[in-house]
């Protein structure tokens, strides 16, 4: 599957906007990305395995809020830094 990386996280992915990942769940996919790009996961997933408040994740355009969400080869994951006003 391919994972689209937002600009705030591209310092981890050698500036790549898209990376490849495998895994049967969102959690497994993010864990594999973290193996390749250490530190990536904790910036978007907290220590209780929750998706951080202002991060949204979509699998094939469907929003998900749980790392147990299933994934399949060919899926597209979008990680979004949510638009939420700002200071």
């Amino acid at each position: 599957m391919v994972v689209h990386i937002p600009t705030p996280l591209r310092s981890y992915t050698d500036k790549q906007s898209v990376v490849e990942a495998g895994g049967r769940t969102l959690g497994e996919a993010l864990a594999r990305i973290d193996q390749d790009y250490p530190g990536f996961r904790f910036r978007i997933i907290d220590e209780q395995d929750g998706i951080r408040e202002h991060i949204k994740i979509f699998i094939n355009e469907k929003p998900v809020r749980d790392l147990s969400a299933p994934t399949e080869p060919g899926d597209t994951i979008h990680i979004i830094c949510a638009l939420s006003g700002g200071v």
């Binding site: 705030p8 996280l9 250490p38 530190g39 904790f42 910036r43 978007i44 997933i45 907290d46 220590e47 209780q48 395995d49 929750g50 951080r52 202002h54 991060i55 830094c81 949510a82 700002g86 200071v87």
Partner: protein, 383 residues
């Protein structure tokens, strides 16, 4: 703790660098040897919320920086070449994962950084929001929770529900220079706490300190220290700027004395920072703010001024030469610091992005840097 006789250190004579943490990145303001000319660096981690940037005085080159962004979670960055290059902590501070069905704490931000005892190179402490204490033994590369505090059966009660508007803060980690096992921390809210066994157990240390925002008279904990400092030359003396006044404590008695009662009544003794003189334990500076009604946290009557005591709080003197006649900024708890020169230099950062410098112990002030983002922290590095 027994007090050893101490040698008063010679004044510093080198270059001062002011380490500035802001709402949108960090900056380093370098002075010349006379502390007259100043040069501001480019932004470091522009756009990151930097709560604290601290030099390790044990090696003079390692910087540790606490950061997060509006979207991304908290982390710590380290530089071993005074900011030329940076690496992220391999294991940043984080609370343990809760057991199935239980709700665990989620670290919002690392708020405070303190290098460990001189006998323990590489040891650092971090205070966080929600209130937790973390320790690194490898110069900030990896961090572990201090279980004696984070898992203390009283931690939740001490932390008072974690309900303060901008997030509760564990701050003011002070290591006794006589030994690494004697540690003080400040919890805002919660109070001042002490460990004499390296962090395995903790006790409240709030006797004599007011907490007029709670219904309980003279509570054991639940206070709101804004900034707590131990004087390195007189480690049995503590000062604190509290939500409810300015205090001094002499150990081992453990009774806070409200030295802010001697401040002018029209100014009061509310504020965030308190700053030590590196060679005179009787001298401290504060920057009072308006703590009336809804707590504007700006200078009383909009007239910025620093106050100094030279006699451990018996009397105070106003120092406002150079500050604007009217201004409405706030100086946060970790945004004021002193250097080790003679005369001592003072440095403060404001919420409207100005850095103010005094090279004469507060007698007069200049503003060598302005138009920065909101300043969260100011620390001094002697190079």
């Amino acid at each position: 703790m027994k007090t050893k006789s101490v040698t008063i250190p010679k004044p510093a004579a080198g270059v001062v660098a002011v380490l500035i943490g802001t709402r949108k990145g960090a900056f380093i303001l370098r002075g010349d040897k006379a502390r007259r000319a100043w040069e501001l660096s480019k932004p470091i981690f522009l756009g990151h919320i930097v709560h604290h940037l601290v030099l390790d005085p044990r090696d003079g080159r390692t910087l540790v920086l606490a950061a997060r962004t509006g979207h991304l979670g908290p982390t710590v960055f380290r530089s071993t070449d005074f900011g030329k290059t940076w690496k992220e902590a391999e294991r940043p501070p984080a609370f343990p994962k809760a057991a199935e069905g239980e709700k665990g704490l989620v670290l919002d931000h690392v708020f405070w950084l303190t290098p460990g005892h001189v006998s323990q190179p590489g040891v650092w402490y971090a205070g966080s929001s929600p209130q937790g204490l973390f320790r690194s033994e490898d110069g900030g590369r990896t961090w572990e929770g201090v279980s004696g505090f984070n898992d203390h059966p009283m931690r939740s009660a001490w932390a008072g529900g974690e309900a303060t508007p901008d997030g509760p803060k564990l701050h003011s980690v002070n290591i006794d220079p006589r030994g690494p096992n004697h540690i003080y921390i400040g919890m805002s809210g919660g109070g001042v706490f002490e460990s004499v066994d390296g962090g395995r157990d903790w006790k409240p240390l709030n006797k004599g300190c007011a907490a007029d925002f709670v219904p309980t008279p003279d509570p054991e904990y639940g206070h709101d220290p804004h900034c707590v400092l131990l004087h390195p030359l007189m480690p049995d003396r503590l000062y604190q700027q509290n939500h409810c006044g300015i205090y001094r404590m002499e150990r081992p008695e453990g009774q806070w004395i409200r030295i802010g009662r001697n401040m002018p009544k029209r100014v009061g003794d509310i504020g965030f920072p308190i700053v030590l003189h590196p060679r005179d334990p009787d001298t401290v500076w504060v920057f009072p703010m308006d703590g009336t009604e809804v707590w504007p946290r700006t200078s009383p009557d909009g007239k910025p001024a620093c106050y100094v005591t030279r006699n451990a709080g018996k009397t105070w003197r106003r120092l406002d030469k150079g500050f604007p006649r009217r201004a409405w900024f706030t100086v946060k708890r970790q945004a004021m610091a002193s250097d080790a020169h003679q005369p001592v230099g003072l440095y403060l950062g404001t919420t409207n992005g100005e850095v103010w410098v005094s090279r004469n112990e507060g007698a007069s002030w200049t503003c060598p840097a302005r138009h920065l983002p909101e300043i969260y922290s100011v620390e001094v590095a002697e190079l």
